[in-house]
Symmetry: C2
Subunit: 118 residues, 2 copies
């Protein structure tokens, strides 16, 4: 039986969660969860983070419509990081891009490698 | 010009870094970097984390031989998370598995979904 309380959280009770598009392997974003948001995510099947800035649950896409449906939750060997296999609707990034990692370091410079979805 | 000092670090001066196999999209592991380890990684082309437990640089594979060669470093929109495209030799996980996320939550139970490489 999986118990979210058995994970290793930081001093603020948070654990980093990586969202990866299940079908393609694209890494979409990284955000934070607490034990309660993990329980919500597993119960609802919709990925629910903990917003550090707003100090509240953040059900991804609840306002934007760009939901993340949970396909599978995985833990790492140290139980201090989560990998979420998801199905992302539309952009995962608040900038409108498909994923948040659209800035690459190439030859010492920052290069924008993806544009917002239209 | 990319300057590691412009990233957003936590209270300990650290930033999470996700390592992804460049050729396949497999998420291998997540560990932490500081500004100096980012500089070392970019200069050497070999991924160098900061070990929180040992409080020292941790050049991945320096002792095990299971190196991570950097293909490309990417930043997220908030500049507080890195995605490293790498070429991993052998297992990335200290358990001998290819990646650290070998435990899945399925029907409420923890299931081992990968075995150590032989």
């Amino acid at each position: 039986m999986f118990d979210p309380k058995t994970l290793r959280y930081d001093a603020n009770g948070l654990i980093p969660a990586i969202a990866q598009e299940a079908a393609t392997g694209e890494v979409l974003m990284m955000a934070w969860m607490n034990a309660a948001s993990i329980e919500k995510t597993l119960a609802s099947g919709r990925v629910t983070y903990w917003s550090r800035s707003r100090q509240e649950f953040w059900e991804k896409g609840a306002t934007s419509g760009n939901q993340q449906v949970l396909v599978e939750m995985r833990l790492d060997c140290d139980r201090d990081c989560l990998l979420l296999q998801v199905e992302q609707s539309g952009p995962a990034c608040h900038t409108g891009r498909r994923n948040c990692f659209y800035t690459a370091v190439r030859q010492g410079d920052e290069v924008e490698i993806a544009k917002p979805m239209t």
